[in-house]
Amino acid sequence: MSHWMRVKALFKRKQLDRDLEDELAFHLAMREAKNRDRGVEVEEARYAARRQFGSVLRIKEACREAWSFVSLETTWRDLRYGARALAKNPGFTAVAVLATALGIGVNTGIFSVMNGVALKLLPVPKAEQIVSVDQIFHGKLSRNVEGEPGLFSYAEYKNYRANNHVFSGLLAYAPFLVATLGGESPKQVMGAETSCNFFDVLGERPALGRVFVEEDCRAPGASPVVVLSDDLWKSQFGADPTILGKSVSLNRAKFVVIGIAAPGFGGLDPWPSAFWAPVTMQKALEPQHDLLAADNTGWLALLGHMRGGISIEEVRADMGVIAGRIDEQYPGRTTMLAIRRATFMGRPEERSVVFDIGAVVLAAVGLVLLIACANVANLLLARASARQKEIAIRLSIGGSRWRIVRQMLTESVLIAFLGGTLGSLVAFWLIEGIAQFVLAHLPHGAPQLVWNVSPDLRVCGYSLVLTALTGILFGLVPALHATRQDLSTAVKGDGDGFIGKAAGGGILRNALVGVQVAVCMVLLIAAGLLMRGLYLAQTVDPGFEMKGIIQAQFDLPSQGYSTEKAQAFQRELIARVAALPGVDDVEQARVTPLGHQWEGTGLTLAGETQERAFEFNVVTPGFFRMLGMPMVRGRVFTETERRSDAPVLVVTESTARRLWPGQDAIGKTLRNDEKNEFQVVGVVRDSQASHLGQTDGLFFYTPAGPAAQDRLQLLVHSKSGETATVNGIREAVRALDANLIVDVTKLADNLEAWRTPSRIVAALSGVLGALALLLASIGVHGVVSYGVSQRTREIGIRMTLGADRRDVMRLVLRQALWPVLIGALVGVIGCAAVSQVLSNVLYGMGAHDPVAFVGVPLFLLSIAFLASYIPARRAVRVDPVVALRYE
């Protein structure tokens, strides 16, 4: 009832106002008449009536508030008022809106990337019903891992699948299976081995043919069938409509195509799958090992489709029981299950990477937003002091402080929303392009990535909340400050013009400038450190020779090569490559230097029981000479040692220093877990052959003997043109095995892959740093200009009394720059902490790089100086006579 009356009242405001007016006027008239009846004079009676009546205005206000949806109506009024005020000051509005738009736009953009990478649910029907299951082990663990440690073995999968009561279907798949698709020109494609309910659990229907049925997974090796992605079907088979029933070759095994997945479906990872084969065909796809029978090897990721009405807590409880039962077979081990709504990058290791990086980047863009906020807050402060008189009058005639604060807040939130909308729209518009650009510039060999960064409800909600918070953040302090004034001074209008009296606002303004400079300093130094890191990375000497060296990489075991077949292949290939014109050296190595592949093992020192973790490489004796890595002690392997797979080692200098400090490493022995002893015969100079920027890990080399031939890559040195040699090597491989995929590149290209992350980070931080600098210098400039304009009269007086221009300049600059200096100092200190974190992420960068730590502050200070010098110059040009008259 009362709500309905209020709504009516909202539309009949004028009528209600008139009625109220009449009602109160009637009251006054009656009172006046009564006073007159008592014999008071007419004039006197009216005044008495008024006096008794109190403030008519206030009564009206109180009555109106009873009538209206107070908040709704005042908000509407505040909005209109705010919009009018903003329209009246287009310059101020434009700067404030743009600053906010920059801050919020950057944040929205970064968040939508985060959202696209790791927060959006899987792009499958009923994604909200699908949960991912991962293991986290505690206690004693002895387990083989293919991929991430949280993956399941086939036996474990079958156990969970058979015994759970919460899923309508539980699927398993082995992600990131790289296979060679045979054909006229063999091609490397990425696919997955899946349980046969894979498509059914996800609710994915094929565009053509059928998906797997349980029969396909009946027995290992029984059903060589494959489902191809729409993408692969179109790009490799010309969208052949008769492809069903034909066979394709994957890692040299024949598979019959039974179906084509729906367009756009690329599996459950941001790196799309090109094919899916039954998990039972694992041995055919990866002949080098049999994972189906390995009960304690993790290689399968699990996703379940929750039965209707089952909550995720029930899933956790039910699956936990099964985990506990499996643990009984492994005394001392406890398995926790991480069960969550399935997203891309959902496995714990992937999540921690994404969220660590995300947190750092979000913090950086948050800082940019903070600078923008401080900027707008300062503008609002300046504006509020220009409106001091108006506010003071409203306060003194009884306007409530809350009312005025609210009205000012409405205005700032309005600015925030204009800026937020503008910034977010631009971000939405640009982000896909930026994402595509970044993806197109990933280094050679990086897998293709599907990145859906288009905004969804979550992104919109995020930017909405951020916008509202921003508006309140930069509006509240100025509003509170402006309404907390000394009324009489403000009304009289001489509250400004002299330093002393404006001090309160001055301190606040200076504090805001200080914050801006400090935050800007942190961002700039971080950007500076990253750029220095990039520069060092570009110019770094990895400590070994790369010039003229070509690497040829191939995977023999997955293509069904036995050790004997591999030996013959390698022997023949080396002979053919060595005969190429210009080639003067051919060597072999298990992993190529800086090739982003690492081999690791555990070895035990004589006299110790605890294993130490080593990285290693398996190389031919000439490897060290080719790469210019001299022996500092002892010798390289002999050809005899190589041919006999002798148990000898070459260790790096720092390995020798760490294991046997002050002793000669030559002759020392290490043993592996099969109790085989290896003897150190040489110590090679340290180089960054494994990780760029690192030389101090434990590292050894063993000879590339006959037993190692199936896993060796070629390193070729050529005096003549590299392109000709690259093509020659390709030809040689094709002549030996036309279906073998070989990746032939310059060794120096490996550096590129190391530089890309820091290049992306440096570009991002450079852009953010530039934004921060722009915003902060606008802030400094604005505050100094405002200070100068407020003190024109004081400056005039000083100059009349004999101060010369230099004195005035000094005065203005000193006052302008001290908050900048304090802010800069705080920023530098804050950054020392940040850089410690950064230097852990980025190789080759000292946490206290002097160029960044001295150069950046000097740069920022000179920008701040310039930003205050320009308005200060205006101050000294003041004509004293004009200044004294200045209002």
Partner: protein
């Protein structure tokens, strides 16, 4: 200490309802009636009276109608609705019990 004649919050609503129990009155009439009935002890501030009247009207306890006053001016007349009468009865009962209780407490030596 409060000034004599000030009204406790909530009590005013009850007095307004009571003033209208015998028939419709305009705002001034309500104020005068309370003033006179209390032997000139209670002054109803207009600043409190009109918002109270409007509030009660919104709650549906009072109905309002414009009519001509005794001196032929346009005036807004308030009267009790059924809900208003019920509310008045409740409040009167509550007040009777409370004031009796307070009086007994205050008389205790």
């Amino acid at each position: 200490m409060e000034k004599d004649g000030d009204l406790m919050q909530g009590t005013l609503d009850m007095l307004v309802l009571k003033a209208l129990a015998r028939g419709a009155k305009h705002g001034y009439g309500v104020a005068e009636w309370i003033h006179e009935s209390s032997n000139d002890v209670l002054h109803v501030e207009e600043g409190a009276l009109y918002p109270a009247l409007h509030r009660l009207e919104l709650k549906g306890l009072l109905a309002a109608e414009w009519g001509a006053s005794e001196n032929n001016r346009r005036a807004k007349y308030y009267s009790l609705t059924a809900a208003g009468q019920k509310k008045l009865a409740e409040q009167a009962e509550y007040w009777r019990r409370m004031s009796g209780a307070i009086a007994r407490v205050m008389q205790t030596a």
